[in-house]
């Protein structure tokens, strides 16, 4: 509102200023005059007399810059920059992994997408979820059939980071939450085109369908097995999407299936 008040206030400025600014001739004249003044001042600084009189001293000052000082300033700047990025990252709980930030020249682009606006809107039904998630750029969404068939209502749909989607659902009798973590999928951009579903299998655990999906040729750079075992993603009650490397360094499909069967 304060800006609006200012705009109201300057609305009433004198007509002479408006006429002046709108008059092409006067505009041209004003800027020509400005350029001429600058040219004249530059010329005065470099004038010498033909009679050999000493050249008039320039009023411009020359600052000698020490290389060491320059280096020190550069190092301090880099440290401050790194510190501020770190503090910001901590403040916003941003995990600075490769897929969450990119560096272009001197700029760091941190990818943070909040879907707060979706919460204000009418929430979609579970059958619309696949489309909603795909709109966020997550390909190949596989959700349990039970969610799609029974028209659960989405009570919360949030993506604090581009790589994670948390969805809470209810069917009136019970509630559940689905967390889709596709960060591994996005980590290697070059793999996106080849990340086909290798195989998928669903198991019924305590009456809940759990889908285990393995993607082909997608790198896994942290141990999902460990995360499952220490409970970090135990809240994934309905859908587990596993990614396995072909060289078998990480979790295998069979291991994932076994873990899925133990989820309570």
């Amino acid at each position: 509102m304060k800006d609006l008040e200012f705009l109201y206030a300057i609305n009433g400025i004198d007509d002479e200023f408006i006429t002046e600014a709108a008059d092409d001739e006067r505009v041209k004249e004003a800027f020509c005059a400005e350029w001429t003044e600058e040219d004249e001042s530059e010329q005065t600084e470099s004038d010498t007399t033909e009679e050999g009189k000493p050249k008039r001293k320039s009023t411009k000052r020359t600052h000698k810059v020490s290389f060491k000082k320059l280096l020190l300033v550069a190092v301090i700047s880099i440290l401050l920059f790194a510190l501020s990025v770190g503090v910001l990252a901590k403040y916003f709980d941003i995990n600075l992994r490769d897929e969450l930030y990119q560096i272009f020249g001197n700029d760091v682009f941190i990818k943070v997408e909040e879907f707060g606006s979706m919460i204000e809107q009418e929430m979609p039904k579970s059958s619309d979820l696949v489309v909603e998630i795909e709109k966020m750029g997550i390909p190949k969404v596989i959700l349990p059939e039970v969610l799609l068939e029974e028209e659960w209502l989405v009570t919360d749909f949030a993506s604090p980071f581009e790589s994670k989607v948390n969805i809470s659902l209810t069917n009136g009798k019970m509630a559940c939450s689905v967390k889709i973590n596709h960060s591994i999928y996005l980590e290697k951009a070059g793999y996106i085109g080849r990340a086909d579903v290798k195989r998928t299998e669903s198991v019924i655990v305590n009456g809940i369908e759990v889908i285990v999906t393995e993607y082909r040729a997608v790198s896994l750079d942290y141990a999902i097995k460990e995360k499952l075992e220490n409970g970090a993603i135990s809240e994934v009650a309905y859908t587990l999407i596993f990614y396995a490397e072909e060289d078998g360094q990480n979790i295998t499909f069979e291991e994932a299936l076994e873990i899925a069967k133990t989820i309570k």
Partner: protein
């Protein structure tokens, strides 16, 4: 058509006056309204309302210059519209680029709420503009009154966009200090 001729048509209550007015200043009015409202539909409505306002006030008024009279009405109507829209969607992130550009001036605790105070600020801005060089004054008015973009300003002034930004930033700072001295700004 010359402004004088258009005014004569208004005095003769000829509807051709509105057509002539729209032909001559319609584009400028739309630009100003669009920069404030960022909505073509609302802007068209405001500009049309403004034509009607001119029709209802001329005569008896005989505005000279007609352009600033017309655009001032468009600005008032657009700002009113923006204010109503913002009141409806309070907190809806309705800020416009132009508003961000001028986000510096009035202290929140001293927000002027009546026309007298607003007129005082206007007078201060007028006094401030008189202290500027013609080139700086034109830059200020074209940026904040006509809502020219930096690219447009660069075209008319022959100054690089980067230089323009720092120049306008300096003018804004001077205005802030000027208003501060008069107890207006924070």
């Amino acid at each position: 058509m010359e402004d004088k001729k258009i005014i004569e048509l208004f005095f003769a209550r000829s509807e051709k006056a509105l057509t002539a007015l729209a032909d001559k200043y319609g584009k400028l009015c739309m630009k100003v309204a669009l920069q404030i409202l960022h909505s073509r539909e609302d802007s068209e409505e405001c500009v049309n309302d403004s034509y009607l306002d001119v029709w209802n006030t001329v005569p008896p008024k005989e505005p000279d210059p007609l352009m600033s009279y017309m655009v001032k009405i468009v600005r008032y109507n657009s700002l009113d519209c923006l204010e109503h829209r913002s009141a409806k969607k309070r907190g809806g992130g309705e800020a416009t680029v132009s508003l961000e550009d001028v986000a510096l001036f009035i202290g929140e605790s001293e927000t002027p709420e009546d026309i007298v105070e607003r007129q005082f600020i206007t007078d201060c801005v007028n006094d401030f503009l008189r202290t500027l060089t013609p080139a700086d004054r034109i830059l200020f008015v074209r940026k904040f009154w006509f809502f020219d973009t930096y690219e447009e300003l660069s075209e008319i002034s022959g100054i690089k966009v980067g230089t323009l930004k720092s120049k306008i930033s300096r003018i804004k700072e001077s205005l802030r200090a000027y208003l501060c001295e008069r107890g207006v700004a924070a």
